[in-house]
């Protein structure tokens, strides 16, 4: 049976090709997105997070962990595994010979390799060159690098090179090279002995302690820390909560949702082609059934045929997906690089990924084909012998079960909405999309009926209008594809443009100073603060410039607040610096001037909206900033600069917490009429110890960053439209094939090829218009949800949704053009065949 069926399918090579292409493309996009996002995320995690594989917790402290604490922990009889880690800020590496190799940022980790061997032995797997000579490692400044970095820098075992650190230049020797192809987290890491790393850092404090703890052990440790007086000086944090990524779960969720939509459209292609193919082979199946093949046998044979084909298509899709992923990866990486040390772009494909994608591709195809197969199997052998009747299928009422499903979905979404999480929101989005999908047929019918009335004296036009109501699985398939692609395109554009507008105007307001001064980002590793001498020189410069109206020093440190790492800012906050803050909640009904006075006086703190959201804080809540330092929240201000959260405190409070931390930057206001651009070119302004940035350039850079961030979604939208085009074309082609005999009929009636093509185009246009109308509504609704709800839940900031009529119009027009193009292709190819 299988052989007969497959041979019959092979007689329709175009169909077979479309079937394979549809599946392959759907799988390809899913594969591309999954592979590239997983790989980029992997790389990003590796770049920004600690070398903490296996660690469940970390002990952290503001000023580092004293060695004494670590020793106490190791000597304590309690049950816990603790590994000390020293981490140095990203360093630039330059080869010692000519210094002509490109500078490279690395993250240097100092580890106690004996402990690592015991508790985290995997760290040593994959060493391809060099030796683990403990005496050398401990006694000499020796370093391990990844293969990628060593190759890039032209280094081999035994080479010495210069490492630039905050404490100066140090000569180190390469003693080991890791194969980082299977361990991407090592790609831009350098490993040293912990003692050597401490020597480079000129510190005795450890950066943190990695720990492997069960919940019970963590509780025991907390008690131990309290008992031995460490609790107020260190923080025990659970690791999975504290690996913030600027491109977080929401971003990857969005990407994967888009990819799955593409797969859905690929499945629609499969559905339409399979349905057509089955109809065309109906006589064969009739013969087989009459010969004694059972219905179950027929279905299983068909599904087996599809399994083989889908496996082939999926493999092709995965291969294509890998190629696409290679293209997408740089975009993703560029997005992430906007925020951090550039992670390594390397594709990470495991056997598990392969299996999962195969299941997705084949499973999706089988699901898509199941309904037509079941329909076919339900027919008796005699029914199969009848020619397929061309009926004008009257629109069924939306069946009760579908309605129930939608109502239940809405209810569930409504209930979940109480929790205000992403899943709830995406359920609402799914429910809305489903409703609109179910409304496609009724809308088309309404339009058709209305137009029929208007065109009742024009039978050709009536054909165009009413033909969309036949073979609804094809026409609805096409409309569904268009609905999904257009509405998601409108939604995503709406969200990004709303966000961009909000962010841009916020930044414009916030960049109220003319010049921003920060420590020089030079190749000695860069200090994050302005040291005393630099500050003196800078202040002297500013004070001696008559153009300078005011300046304000800024301090910044990280603070752990309720288990969350928050950026704490402090300044003198002159009048000029405070005008740009928008409050969305405040403790008392006073004017902002009073609020700022209270802040300066140390009577409270101000927190950013994302922080308030994540920690469920409101104005008036008390915050414990440190031992014996508790302050109320004076106000919550609007902020798009950091979704982790920021806090403003007065100078006195900051000094109590952090004593002698130097400032990290200076903001300078100029008198009206002074040209900042030309001012900074004057002597005395430029200095190798600091760098100057103009507000305008910062704004420009932020726009660039923004575009970089959303490059990936733009690329995906294009791919998406491509699949949509293919899906539409396939549906229309299937329709054409289905109506091939009709085509002969039209020829017999005297309709020219041009006229027949016009009918197809007209039908496509009507379908596109119907779908387009719904897409506009759905798209903007989704844009509203994504902008005002999803952004809030995911990041904590409020963004007002901005409607843009042009966006809707362009989307509608592009949908109709795409449909026309698909129809033209279908008519041409269908006509030729």
């Amino acid at each position: 049976m299988l052989v007969a069926s497959v041979r019959s399918l092979l007689q329709q090579p175009l169909q077979l090709f479309l079937l394979l292409l549809g599946m392959a493309l759907g799988v390809a996009i899913v594969a591309a997105v999954q592979l590239s996002t997983a790989s980029a995320r992997h790389s990003y995690q590796a770049a920004i997070t600690q070398l903490d594989s296996g660690a469940t917790h970390q002990l952290r402290a503001l000023a580092g962990i004293p060695s004494q604490l670590y020793v106490q922990l190791q000597r304590a009889p309690q049950s816990w595994s603790v590994l000390p880690v020293v981490r140095l800020e990203p360093q630039f590496v330059v080869t010692s010979s000519q210094g002509d190799s490109p500078a490279l940022k690395l993250q240097l980790y100092g580890l106690d390799l004996l402990i690592e061997q015991r508790l985290r032995p995997g760290i040593f797997s994959g060493m391809v060159e060099g030796q683990l000579d403990w005496s050398v490692l401990m006694l000499q400044p020796s370093i391990w690098l990844s293969k990628q970095v060593a190759t890039k820098q032209g280094l081999t075992i035994g080479d010495s090179f210069i490492l630039h650190t905050p404490s100066g230049c140090h000569s180190v020797t390469l003693v080991g090279i890791f194969d980082d192809s299977q361990r991407p987290e090592l790609a831009q890491r350098a490993l040293m002995d912990i003692g050597q790393a401490l020597m480079l850092k000129r510190e005795t404090q450890l950066s943190y302690l990695d720990m492997m703890l069960t919940e019970t052990q963590a509780e025991v440790l907390q008690s131990w820390l309290i008992e031995y007086g460490w609790a107020e000086r260190v923080n025990l944090v659970q690791l999975e909560q504290h690996n913030p990524q600027p491109l977080g779960d929401a971003f990857y969720f969005n990407l994967n949702a888009m990819a799955l939509l593409a797969l859905l459209m690929g499945s629609l292609v499969v559905y339409s082609v399979i349905a057509l193919s089955l109809q065309q082979r109906q006589p064969l199946f009739a013969t087989l059934r009459l010969a004694g093949v059972s219905a179950a046998g027929l279905i299983s044979g068909l599904l087996l045929e599809l399994l083989l084909l889908s496996s082939l298509a999926t493999l092709a899709g995965i291969a294509l997906g890998m190629m696409l992923a290679h293209g997408l990866m740089p975009l993703l990486v560029e997005s992430q690089a906007a925020f951090s040390v550039a992670p390594v772009a390397r594709l990470h494909l495991s056997g598990g990924d392969l299996l999962r994608l195969w299941l997705l591709g084949s499973g999706g195809a089988l699901l898509a084909a199941l309904w037509p197969c079941l329909q076919l199997a339900r027919c008796s052998p005699l029914q199969l012998q009848q020619p397929v009747m061309d009926t004008l299928q009257p629109e069924r009422q939306v069946s009760r079960w579908r309605l129930m499903l939608v109502v239940m979905l809405l209810l569930a979404a409504g209930l979940l909405q109480q929790q205000q999480n992403l899943w709830a929101l995406y359920s609402v989005i799914a429910a809305l999309t489903l409703i609109c999908a179910l409304l496609l047929a009724p809308l088309l019918r309404m339009l058709a009926l209305g137009l029929s009335q208007l065109l009742r004296r024009r039978p050709l036009a009536l054909m165009v209008v009413r033909d969309g109501l036949r073979q609804q699985h094809y026409s609805q398939g096409m409309m569904l594809v268009l609905l999904l692609s257009l509405s998601s395109s409108i939604a995503i554009s709406g969200m990004t443009s709303s966000f961009h507008q909000a962010f841009h105007s916020w930044l414009q307001q916030r960049l109220d100073a003319a010049i921003y001064i920060s420590p020089a980002d030079n190749h000695s590793g860069g200090t994050r603060h302005l040291d005393d001498k630099t500050l003196q020189a800078l202040q002297a410069r500013l004070l001696s410039s008559p153009e300078v109206k005011a300046y304000d020093l800024r301090w910044r440190q990280s603070l752990w607040l309720q288990g969350r790492e928050v950026s704490l800012y402090s300044a003198n906050f002159p009048q000029a610096a405070t005008d740009s803050y928008q409050f969305i909640d405040q403790l008392a009904k006073v004017d902002s001037k009073t609020l700022w006075q209270q802040l300066r006086a140390g009577e409270g703190v101000m927190i950013s909206e994302p922080l308030a959201w994540h920690l469920k804080l409101k104005a008036g809540d008390q915050l414990q900033l440190g031992p014996a330092l508790s302050r109320p929240v004076l106000a919550i201000y609007s902020d798009y600069g950091s979704y982790q959260g920021r806090m403003l405190v007065g100078r006195s409070d900051f000094q109590r917490l952090f004593q002698a931390v130097p400032p990290y930057g200076v903001r300078v206001w100029l008198w009206p009429g002074v040209d900042a651009q030309s001012l900074i070119t004057e002597p005395g302004w430029q200095d190798s110890r600091w760098q100057l940035r103009l507000a305008g350039l910062i704004l420009q850079r932020s726009d660039q960053l923004f575009e970089q961030t959303f490059l990936i979604t733009d690329a995906l939208q294009l791919l998406f439209l491509l699949v949509a085009l293919l899906a539409m074309g396939t549906n229309l082609l299937a329709l054409q094939h289905h109506r091939r005999t009709e085509s002969q009929r039209y020829r017999a009636l005297g309709m020219s090829p041009a006229l027949r093509r016009l009918i197809v185009l007209g039908q496509a246009l009507l379908l596109a218009f119907s779908a387009g109308l719904l897409s506009l509504i759905l798209g903007e609704l989704l844009a509203l949800l994504l902008t005002e709800q999803v952004q809030k839940v995911a990041f904590g900031w409020s963004i007002p949704w901005q409607y843009d009529g042009w966006r809707s119009l362009i989307a509608l027009l592009s949908g109709m053009v795409a449909a026309l193009l698909a129809a033209w292709l279908a008519a041409t190819v269908g006509g030729k065949s």
């Binding site: 009889p77 049950s79 797997s125 005496s135 496996s311 056997g351 299996l355």
Partner: protein, 391 residues
């Protein structure tokens, strides 16, 4: 071929193809975990016959003083603190053998002392290795574990106040200042309540004064010299306490033997290892027998009376090997001896309580509780090194 078979063939081919693809991608790179072990092995065992300039050497003129010499001698290459004990469960009478050893290995002779302790304690060039072992004779089980640590800012080492030797949470600590014993010994193989964990919390009380081995604590180890050590023992310590075995603590009591030795070269060029016996006779005498195997063998015997006073031992002993035990991978250890001395007159049969008491770690040796019978009864511990090289 029948169509059905052909179909099955193609299906099978497809499945195999997919599986192969999956397997290819699932393949993990081979681990290089043995590299680190090899490095440690080399490091720990490298004081065979190479004598590096810069190390301090044992000297016959050196006067051992206490509590000073209870502490580490960082200028020497190698050092160990050794405690072995034969214990009995108070309730059941089950026998336990206990071994607690902390080894120190200096990494670089030139660097020793070059980094001042207050500069960067993490770079103190001392590597510590700990071995714990428990022989559960009643259940015919021998457990052992190894742990490494750098000296660091107090991760391992020795200290005067309080007088103690430790490696992380394994600790031997004196109860009083200036005297090592009485002392408390606490060590557990794995932290927490893991079923395979074992350990002990013991109180050690000296029954005799310290015994200086060899010539006033100078142990020559060869005729030509060059691999001498400083060596002293506490040959008889009363033990009370608890032993952790199979998740449960057992009250025990018995006798322990403590050794502390330091050197910069353990074996000379033509020496392959040693057989060492620490025997506590029921009549209150304690006997140390060391045979350093070489061409020729080197013998060192020390005996103390019931009060701990050294007793003279004349003539060379006769040590007959009456039986062997072989490990699964073919390392053959002697496992039954007859030891004969003329002055004092002793004809002892020494048998291990359990055949397999091998320590298979970075350093491989046999160390186990033994019984003594024959002309005199008693108990003790035996240590056999260098037999894995002969395989």
């Amino acid at each position: 071929m029948k169509p059905a078979l052909k179909k099955a063939q193609w299906l099978g081919l497809l499945v195999v193809m997919l599986l192969l693809l999956a397997l290819i991608f699932m393949a993990e790179p081979t681990a290089h975990t043995s590299q680190s072990s090899q490095s440690l092995h080399r490091l720990v065992n490298s004081t065979g016959s190479d004598t590096q300039p810069g190390w301090q050497q044992a000297s016959v003129d050196y006067q051992l003083q206490f509590p000073r010499d209870h502490l580490a001698h960082n200028r020497f290459a190698v050092e160990w603190w050794y405690l072995t004990a034969n214990l009995k469960a108070q309730q059941t009478g089950d026998h336990f053998g206990v071994q607690f050893t902390i080894f120190r290995r200096a990494l670089n002779a030139v660097q020793v002392g070059s980094v001042a302790p207050d500069q960067n304690p993490w770079l103190q060039p001392q590597l510590y290795m700990g071995h714990l072992a428990l022989t559960d004779t009643a259940n015919a089980q021998h457990y052992s574990v190894q742990r490494f640590s750098r000296q660091g800012p107090g991760l391992a080492g020795s200290a005067a106040q309080p007088l103690s030797i430790w490696l992380e949470d394994w600790r031997l600590q004196a109860n009083q200042p200036d005297q090592l014993f009485p002392a408390q010994l606490r060590a557990q193989a794995f932290r927490g309540q893991r079923p395979q964990s074992f350990g002990y919390q013991l109180q050690l009380t000296p029954l005799k004064p310290l015994l200086l081995q060899g010539e006033q604590g100078y142990s020559a180890k060869s005729e030509e010299g060059g691999n001498a050590s400083h060596y002293y023992s506490a040959t008889r310590l009363a033990v009370t306490g608890q032993v952790l075995r199979q998740g449960g603590w057992v009250d025990v009591q018995g006798l322990a033997w403590y050794d502390h030795e330091w050197t910069s070269t353990t074996l000379s060029k033509n020496q392959t290892g040693w057989d060492w016996f620490a025997l506590q006779l029921e009549d209150g005498r304690d006997l140390t027998v060391i045979r350093v195997r070489g061409q020729p063998d080197y013998w060192q015997l020390t005996m103390s009376d019931q009060q701990g006073r050294p007793l003279p031992v004349k003539g060379l002993p006769r040590l007959q090997v009456l039986g062997h035990w072989q490990s699964k991978d073919g390392v053959r250890y002697p496992a039954h001896w007859r030891l004969q001395l003329t002055a004092p007159e002793l004809d002892l049969e020494i048998r291990p309580r359990l055949a397999n008491q091998e320590m298979r770690h970075t350093v491989r040796y046999w160390e186990g509780a033994v019984t003594v019978s024959g002309s005199h009864r008693g108990q003790g511990y035996a240590e056999l090194t260098g037999y894995d090289a002969a395989r």
